[in-house]
């Protein structure tokens, strides 16, 4: 594989990373932030999986007892299996918080602004009761 094409996967990793990261910082909608976070994490998966690939290799699952074939590296794959599951766990928890925020505030946009505006209205704020 050529010199430049050999880096293509890493550049896609960088691109996906910044696309996701941009959504996390710039988008005010909370669900959009979580989508961005998922893209950001998927970029990391790509980084790991790419580094484990071996030219002419095949998946590290031995066929017909032939242990001498060329195989790609299993370790990054194991790490990413873990990371994928961690990703969905974070996503589920994040979505649950979003649902609660929607119920409590009636919106999932610009929550920071709403919450800090609330802080200035201390009188109203202290009337807010416990759940």
């Amino acid at each position: 594989m050529s010199e430049i094409l050999g880096l293509f996967n890493y550049w896609v990793f960088v691109l996906l990373m910044v696309i996701g990261f941009y959504a996390v910082i710039a988008k005010p909608n909370l669900i959009k932030k979580l989508l961005g976070l998922s893209i950001f994490q998927a970029a990391v998966f790509l980084l790991f999986i790419s580094m484990g690939k071996v030219d002419g290799g095949t998946a590290p699952i031995i066929q017909n007892g032939n242990w001498d074939a060329v195989f790609s590296n299993p370790l990054p794959q194991v790490l990413i299996l873990t990371a994928i599951v961690v990703g969905i766990s974070t996503l589920a928890l994040g979505l649950a918080i979003v649902v609660r925020i929607k119920e409590a505030y009636g919106t999932i946009e610009e929550i920071d602004a709403i919450a800090s505006g609330e802080a200035t209205q201390l009188q109203q704020d202290s009337g807010e009761s416990k759940q």
Partner: protein, 501 residues
């Protein structure tokens, strides 16, 4: 195999495997008893581990019997042991003290799930501290983070939700940055074991990737450790979490991220990257200095008791970082001592806040005017712990500040400037602690403000008050006799500095 050799695994396994059992229990009393038992057991294990490592010995445990770098190994030295003591001690004390407060703020129905999350936080933090494998640290970081989000979201006000969402986003970005950094180091070295990374990184000739990796790891962990200017998530998360949760996580959660940062920086990068120790110092020392000033000044202008203490934490993390960025044995000793002493002071302060929380729904200073007359013991405890936070002689806080001043003195003229800074920021601490003391003891008109129950304000229940005083007296005890933390700190400093080029 003897029980003693299994201690490192048990330290993580006990709270981690008790958590599912606690979650299954329906009864809130039973689940509390189980959670407390596991927590206390962890504390006992941490003491036993400390006893083993205190001579300078390092415990290495091979998970699954596979030797590193192929399998995952646990690695416990004196600094890990000190952090284990802080984590398990804080978890046990706050849980013991805070049952009433938690039941009021979280509600009895959700208590089993909440306590399971409590144990998972404990297991996650302990797992990070004992791990010798960079990816394993990521996994346990996620356990502790997810569990901490649950704990914080248990706060009674709805703003707990927005605070925890911000915390979740920041925490995940931080952890992912850390993972990218670890991935890049792995890419260049082919190993995930921290000790092995140190050896193999020396042979890597392409340095740019490693520099970028070090950058990702530092930024990611700085986000999680709330190092200025990446602390934005922290004040709200501390303020809106249940009081007892704040007492627990303020004592240890950011410190554990800081610990990982120090461990990777000193063990892996400093020896292998040209001038990395200077870059580390030049980058982090200014941040530490600005963080100390910013945190202290912001604390002075805050109106909410918990926010004042949260901003004070930003400053205190600055002290720890300042000590480490001096890159000397004395400086590192001071940093490690401050790990311990700040945890003592903040636990005591937030426990006192929890005592107040049984009477007040909000922690605004204007509501607390003159409360010292109705709750003298609580406020006396608060003042006592406040002295330690300031660093008054005779308290634990003084020991670490004095060590930090001594370490700064070694650095000549710039050191003198640092000493001036430390003294100045201590004065700022006097201002914000005094402000609280003044309002609560000498203010007028707060008693009419709404008490949580509606009735007259009375002293906090004896039990939580006793536990708060235990924490306060610990501050004085370790101010009087600091030999244990001092010994752990100085020998871990020597070990960390041995990894210098």
């Amino acid at each position: 195999m003897s029980l003693a050799s299994q201690l490192p695994a048990l330290q993580v396994a006990v709270p981690m495997l008790t958590a599912p059992l606690v979650a299954l229990l329906r009864d809130s009393h039973l689940s509390w008893a189980a959670a407390f038992a596991a927590s206390a057991m962890s504390f006992v294990l941490a003491i036993a581990i400390t006893g083993q490592v205190i001579g300078g010995e390092t415990l290495v445990y091979h998970m699954g019997g596979w030797a590193p770098p192929f399998g995952i190994s646990l690695y416990i030295d004196e600094l890990s042991a000190l952090l284990l003591l802080i984590i398990t001690g804080a978890a046990t004390l706050t849980l013991l003290a805070g049952r009433g407060s938690l039941e009021e703020q979280v509600g009895e129905a959700r208590m089993p799930l909440f306590l399971a999350a409590w144990l998972l936080t404990l297991a996650g933090l302990a797992g990070i501290v004992v791990s010798g494998d960079a990816f394993n640290i990521f996994v346990f970081m996620e356990i502790s983070s997810l569990a901490t989000y649950i704990l914080v979201s248990g706060g009674p006000q709805r703003r707990a939700l927005t605070a925890v969402f911000k915390y979740l986003i920041t925490g995940t970005v931080g952890a992912t940055f850390y993972l990218i950094g670890v991935g890049m180091v792995y890419m260049m070295t082919g190993t995930l074991n921290i000790a092995d990374m140190e050896v193999r990184l020396a042979e890597v000739s392409d340095r740019n990737v490693v520099y970028v990796a070090a950058g990702f790891i530092t930024i990611g962990l700085a986000l999680k450790a709330a190092i200025f200017p990446l602390h934005a998530w922290m004040p709200n998360a501390y303020t809106f979490a249940p009081h007892i949760v704040t007492a627990f996580i303020a004592a240890c959660s950011t410190k554990v991220s800081l610990y990982v940062l120090l461990r990777l920086d000193f063990f892996v990068f400093q020896k292998n990257l040209v001038d990395h120790e200077l870059q580390f110092a030049y980058l982090l020392m200014p941040l530490a200095v600005i963080g100390i000033l910013y945190g202290s000044i912001a604390a002075i202008f805050e109106q909410n008791l918990k926010r004042i203490l949260a901003f004070s934490s930003v400053a205190q993390i600055g002290y720890i970082l300042l000590g480490a960025s001096l890159i000397s044995v004395a400086g590192f000793t001071a940093a490690v001592l401050h790990f311990f002493n700040h945890a003592l002071a903040k636990t005591a302060l937030f426990l006192a806040v929890a005592c107040l929380g049984l009477q007040f729904a909000k922690m605004r200073l204007e509501d607390l005017r003159g409360v010292g007359r109705s709750m003298p013991w609580t406020l006396a405890a608060f003042a006592g712990a406040g002295l330690s936070l300031i660093g008054v002689p005779g308290t634990a806080g003084f020991v670490s500040k004095w060590a930090l001043i001594g370490a700064a003195m070694e650095k000549g003229a710039p050191g003198a400037a640092l000493v001036a800074l430390i003294l100045f920021s201590s004065l700022l601490a006097v201002v914000y602690v005094w402000r609280i003391v003044e309002v609560t003891w000498f203010g007028h008109g707060g008693e009419q403000a709404k008490a949580a129950g509606g009735g007259p304000i009375t002293e906090a229940p004896l039990w939580i008050l006793t536990m708060t005083w235990v924490a306060v007296l610990a501050n004085f005890w370790f101010g009087f006799d600091s030999s244990l933390p001092m010994q752990l700190a100085s020998s871990s400093a020597e070990e960390f500095l041995r990894h210098q080029p």
